[in-house]
Each structure stands twice: as C-alpha cells, then as structure tokens.
Subunit: 283 residues, 2 copies
C-alpha cells in the first residue's frame, strides 16, 4: 500500500489508473479505524479495481466547542490495518494541502442538512460537503463508500453528488457493531468502562421501537416516545434526539405508511461522549 | 462538431477522450457568441486535443430584476460559429439537466466576490461558481478557458479551482474589441444606434487613466477620478464603479507601487444596458 501526502500526487495516480481503463473506489475516513471502516475498504475492493482510502481529520466540520483536538489519531496503526484490509493507497494530506492559504470557498447544502445533526451541529454538514468534494476532486473516484452509521451524512453526500453532477456512485455500507450491539465508532474510545457498559442502550432502544413497528405501530411520535423512554430509564444519557423519519428525505409525517422506508435516529450524550446510532426499516 | 444535451453523455465522451490519453479544454459560455468567445475556442485548440464548448444561460447568476429572460439566444447561429471555429463538441444542457429537481446545493466564495460586481450583483458569483463547478464535473476538462472581459469572474473561478482542488488549469484570454474599442459582449445587442456610438467611452476612459499611470500617477483615488470624470462628461452613463485595484486580489491601497499589476475596472449603465470593461497594467 502506497502512502500519498499531496493532492497533485494522488490526482496523478488516479489519472494513470483511469487511463489504463481501471476503476477507483474512494473511502473517506477521519482515521483511528475500526472494523466499520475496514468493511468499507473491502466493499470498495468488490466494486472497483483500486481502493484509495483517505485519512483526514477535517477541521471545518468541528465546531470550536467540539472534539477536534482530542479526536483519536494513530497513523501507524491505521496504515497497518488498511494495508491488511487491502487498500491500495492511503491519502493522508495535511490541513494545508486540503485548505491552502487564503481558501475562501464553501459548499452549502440546505434542506437535508438542517434537521437532526444539523440542529445540534450547525456548521457540520457544510464542512463535510466541502471536504468530501475536495477529496473527490483529489482522488477522482468512480465510487465513494460511506458508512450507514453516519446516516444523515450519507444523505447529504448523495445530495452533494446529485446536485454538483459528480460522476461518482455513492455506496452506503451497513453499520458494523460490537458483539453487544454498540455501533462501532472512533469516538467509543472516549468511554469509561462504566459508560461502555451502558452504551448499547441506544441500540436496544432502537430494537424496542423496531419491534413496535413490526407489531403495527405507525404513529411517529409514539415510536419516538418508545426510544426516548427506554433511554431515559437508564438515567445516564442526555438526549439530543431520538426520532424517526422517512429514510429518503428525513420528512416527518404523523403516521408512516405501508411500504415506506423509515429510519430511526438517535443522538445522545453518555457523559461527555456524544453517541449516534440508527436503523433503517421497511414497513 | 457533435451537439450533446445530457450530463451523462458528455461525461462519457470526456472519459473516453481521457482514456485515449488525450486532453480537453472546456469553454463555458452563455451563448449568442461573438469573436471573443470564438477566440477562447481557438486558444483551447492550442492547449488541448479537444474543445468542449458549453452553452448554458445560467438562471442562478441572474437576479430577479436582471435580464435572464431577454438575454439573447440563437442556438443555430451559435452552432455554426462554433463548428467553424473548430470546437469539437457543443454541450447545451437544459436547466433541468444542470439543476435537477430538488437541487439544494450552492458554492459560496467569500472575499474576492464581495466587492465591485459583488456589490451590485450580490447573488451573481455564487451562481457563477456553482454552475462552473457543475460544468467542470460534466466536461472533466484539463483546461478551462475564460475571457478577461469578465475580469472579476476570472479571479472567482481561479479561487474556486484552487480552493476545491480541481485538477484544471484556468486560462484567461485577452479582451476582444470592436474596431472602435468597445469590448465585445453579447449584451451589446441591447444598445440603440445612439447608445452604440457612445459605448466606446468606457474604453477611452480606461485609456486616459492608463496614460496617467504611464506618466507616473500612483494615487488610486486620483486614477479613479480620471475615469469617473471622463465618463460623466458625456452625461450619458450611470456609473456603478470606475475604479482601480490590485489585479491579483482586488485590494485597494492608497498608492500603487512599482512592479505592481493593477486592474482598471468599470461598470456603468448606458440607458438600460449595463456595460463592463477593464484593463490590466503592470506599473
């Protein structure tokens, strides 16, 4: 696996791959990789000839009060994991490469970014959209592979690609979980041992709501209440949202309908750690 | 010359050109072409193997009170001119191709867009940046060819490409003028015969200022005054701005310095027609 640090180099590599009539899957990550990320690399290898994994902790998607400084970083560990997983290239640019001196351009996505994560992290998705567009212009892939754990992010990226006419197919891979159901995330490292024991609560709350839906519950607020109550019972979480919506556009009808694809979405603080989880259900 | 109407088709064509190790120059236009546009096609042919001219009157760069509806359009005339000029492809998408249903994404460029044209046409450059990014994602060129007549636009595009890491070289071609000095523009068609006779005033005002600079004038406000007075003398124009600035970043020092590249910029209404002109001088 080759490690590349400059935009010009990775663009060159991509051009050469394309000229030899081969294809590229890009896996954008913020590093400190887990099995979820590695599953994206493996999916990339089934879709394309080459996988370029990008590793960039993007400053513009963190608010000043968020965890940009303490976000876990371990390039050596990540390189080895990626190499073993079959990634052909690792693109690990500096902040200066991605945000050259005097940068002054931002991509703004409206509708789909406003609710949920957008409410609690108002600058977040513009930062994500902007950096992903840049990573796409750098790696020039045929495919972009993303994880379902960041569900709303996957909708934002799809909107970005559709609206900006990127010639890229977005693939969203299922959530990878720990054995007790906790959605794998780089931020799980922040949890104390006590907190780690409580963390699967969110997934269990989602299960409760899923069962109710399978048993015929269609009232959106009732579904939300099930999850909210389950979480609040532990007296250990501070909930940002525990909600349900249409999985294609996050619309919030009073009642869901037969055949509708919906998503259950939770974001909650366990101590200082903000955890998110979701599940997609077809009614 | 092939005429292409869909994004998918032009992306395919571009991919095939690139796979055969050839290069592409993109010439974005809003149609109703004149010698200025055709010079861009010719320059494109010197830079790349293939020229793709795009023709799209972009709704999002016109304010509601501007001339989107009356902007001159003549596809048959334009096709013939382009074919004769050597353009290999003409990409002429519908508004729906470029702005698919539910589009919700915009590129915002700050600093360089705020002054001059940005003051009088506040939404304009975001519209330009957004559509040019889409045309670049459609035509996937190695070069983008633009005219100096829209000087500030050329700076905005350079900022866009630099900030978004587009692997595209921006080429800015000199202004092409009528024999009496009027900068060629699709909007010149709006001028009455009377107005057409007065239109070269802007270029003459620029000449006056240029002469003063060559004779040692370095005071920015004095330079601006020369142009303003010259234009106001005709009692025929309403001036938006007649100004001078650093040509790389539009900064406005009190005094210009030896070796500095500066730009003289004018925008003024002649009747209902808004004319712009500029000149770059190295002191």
């Amino acid at each position: 696996m080759e490690i590349i640090r400059t935009v010009k180099e990775i663009q060159n590599i991509s051009d050469n791959i394309r000229k030899s009539n081969k294809t590229i899957a890009c896996v954008p990550t913020m590093g400190y990789l887990h099995e979820g990320h590695l599953s994206l690399v493996k999916i990339g290898k089934t879709k394309a000839d080459y996988v370029i994994t990008t590793l960039f902790v993007n400053p513009t998607q963190f608010a000043p009060n968020e965890d940009f400084d303490k976000y876990p970083r371990d390039l050596e560990r990540d390189s080895k994991l990626l190499s073993d997983a079959g990634s052909d290239f690792l693109f690990v640019p500096s902040a200066n490469e991605i945000y050259p001196n005097g940068y002054d351009t931002e991509i703004n996505i409206k509708g789909i970014s406003q609710s949920y994560e957008g409410l609690f992290r108002p600058i977040h998705f513009n930062g994500v959209a902007t950096v992903v567009a840049k990573l796409f212009n750098s790696t020039k892939p045929h495919y972009g592979i993303f994880g379902q754990k960041d569900f709303q992010q996957s909708l934002v990226i799809k909107q970005l690609v559709r609206d900006m006419l990127f010639d890229i197919e977005i693939v969203v891979a299922p959530i990878v979980r720990e054995t007790d159901g906790l959605a794998r995330s780089s931020r799980n490292i922040y949890l104390s041992q006590e907190e780690r024991k409580l963390a699967p609560t969110l997934n269990l709350a989602i299960h409760q709501a899923t069962k109710a839906i399978e048993n015929g519950e269609r009232n959106r607020l009732a579904i939300n209440e099930i999850m909210k109550n389950y979480i609040e019972n532990t007296k250990a979480f501070k909930i940002d949202y525990a909600s349900s919506a249409d999985a294609t556009n996050l619309s919030e009808p009073d009642f869901f309908e037969s055949g509708q694809e919906i998503v259950l979405l939770i974001a909650a603080y366990l101590g200082k750690t903000r955890l998110i989880d979701n599940n997609i259900i077809k009614i």
